[in-house]
Chain length 347, copies 2
């Protein structure tokens, strides 16, 4: 069982001093080509690998960053992760994925794990608005980028989508198709994203000079397919059915679609349906789903790049927080098309 081989061993093997080996890595041009080669050979011979652990301890920025999401089962989060992973990979970094599963306690636990590891920084899609873990991280001076939190906070970098506009787009689309009885199937009302989308719906009504009563809201505890099925069950129990349903999320919409289908209600003929996020699944559903697209991969990538810039700049003091707000986009598909003017099946 051989001992771990360190820089000293390499130095001895190459017949130079410790510092020279370090220089070969960090200031190659300060070392004469001959010595450099000798050191290189020693490194290969011994199969030496630098210890990041020691480098970080010495003050170098870590090459690991983290992304904390609230639901790994949600394709939107997955897309965020993919985007971030891709950007990180380009910069030679690795990504730690933390699933808070919507539990603020888990989020906090992960936060302390990350702080203890002195990682490069974190992308965080906060679970609750209180932002306990965020303040914990900020206290530890860990670089942070907040993702998918629409509230305009000037005290941190963030990447988000204009959810008010998103809600407006969806609603306006349905209004334009003639719907005057729209149900907004919302997620937990405490989430700022949900509130924003709801405000967007109202704005659409105002723009169209229609009464606020044209949209009613139905809150759900979770934003999953199952929750969508439950919501649909509640819809079916209503005295008068809405003519259109706008869901806060494509998973909810998928659940609603399934349950309505089972009840023999046709989409879009009987009820028009619009989702949110435009996850990949949406286009391939039984009835291709109209949805408000949020560019998740792009968001992940932008957030990661923001963090990388932030932590690469030589002078971290003069850093100003940047807020990126992306525009959502309505993707019309069959689930909301007016009878007789079907959108072709091909996505």
């Amino acid at each position: 069982m051989k001992q771990r081989v360190g820089m000293i061993d390499v130095a001895r093997e190459a017949g130079v001093s410790l510092g020279t080996v370090s220089n070969v890595y960090n200031q190659p041009d300060r070392v004469s080509p001959a010595t450099r080669l000798r050191v290189q050979r020693a490194i290969d011979r011994l199969g030496y690998v630098r210890s990041e652990t020691a480098r970080v301890l010495r003050g170098r920025p870590s090459r690991i960053m983290a992304i904390v999401v609230h639901d790994l089962a949600n394709p939107f989060c997955i897309a965020l992760v993919q985007g971030a992973e891709q950007a990180a990979r380009r910069a030679g970094l690795g990504i730690m994925v933390c699933n808070s599963a919507g539990d603020p306690a888990e989020e906090t636990r992960y936060a302390s794990l990350l702080i203890e590891h002195r990682i490069r920084g974190a992308l965080i899609a906060p679970t609750d608005s209180s932002g306990q873990s965020i303040t914990a991280m900020r206290r530890s001076e860990m670089p942070l980028v907040v993702v998918d939190d629409s509230r305009p906070g000037r005290d941190a970098c963030s990447v988000a989508v204009d959810d008010v506009l998103g809600g407006e787009l969806a609603t306006a689309h349905l209004l334009a198709a003639g719907h005057r009885s729209i149900l907004f199937v919302a997620g937990p009302a405490r989430l700022p994203q949900i509130q924003a989308r709801s405000r967007g719906a109202l704005r659409a009504l105002a723009r169209a000079r229609l009464p606020a009563s044209a949209v009613t809201q139905l809150d759900c505890e979770k934003m999953t397919v199952t929750a969508g099925r439950d919501a649909a069950a509640r819809i079916l129990g209503m005295r008068t059915l809405p003519t259109a349903v706008f869901c806060a999320n494509d998973l909810l919409a998928t659940g609603v679609l399934q349950r309505l289908f089972e009840a023999g209600i046709r989409v879009p003929e009987d009820i028009a349906l619009v989702g949110y996020d435009d996850i990949e699944h949406a286009a391939a559903a039984a009835v291709p789903l109209t949805s408000v697209r949020r560019p998740a991969r792009l968001m992940g990538a932008q957030a990661a790049n923001l963090l990388i810039d932030k932590t690469s700049s030589a002078s971290p003091v003069e850093h100003t927080h940047r807020q990126v707000v992306l525009r959502p986009e309505l993707v019309a598909r069959r689930s909301s098309s007016r009878p007789g003017m079907h959108v072709p099946a091909r996505p």
Copy 2:
């Protein structure tokens, strides 16, 4: 701008020595309750957090482990990650997710990143059979668990599914429904998993005393929805259509289903369809998809636990590699039901 606070600061604040603070963490019962409390208070007051970096450098096992998958876009891999993440969380560890994107070079790059970081260990779903990165890791003595590689190697821990059985189950199911002209839409033929499923198909034929010609194979470069659409296009160009299609993967099956539908071919009436993996999406498809279920989350969790056990045992020398092989299971849904005996729509 305050200086980072370390153990010495805590010690000074509590009026004890450095070692005592360390003992409060590592051997709490060696220090008197009074002192312990005093130290605790100092820690809280100063907002001190231990540096994992320093601990690892001193020889403590890291609290980060990694999982390397070949395609983050594949729900099967996501499920693996979810399982591993859950298990890791229970053990207080964090998971680093690395997407090799099917590129052995990336896999190797990640491998060295992981080694440099001296992480706890790695779960790896290898991209190519050569296993370059695996040998790199093994040379560095990093604990390893191979996931989803069916080849029986006694030189590493592994968690896999019996893919031969999986291929047999799917084929036998179709044979039992009377199909005698089955097409196996395979992935890259070099992948051992694909080879195993193919062998399974042959075994099913042998068991049923049918000629090997009852199953033909169609290779695809990738295993994505798009590849599935392309495969379907090729199928449509055949002189005589098969009566059943068995896809190496649910993504392929989804693509095939879409393309066949567009061509006006009904599933299962005209062609029966069976997928593999049983991703969540499969049950919710337009035509619920029959599939061979692989318990991905369980695999991820088991692999993670294997790794945790391995790295927690006091005596790492007397460790014997364990190979876990799980049984796949056929989940019959409408896409393969015989006309007239429909499985109910509800998944």
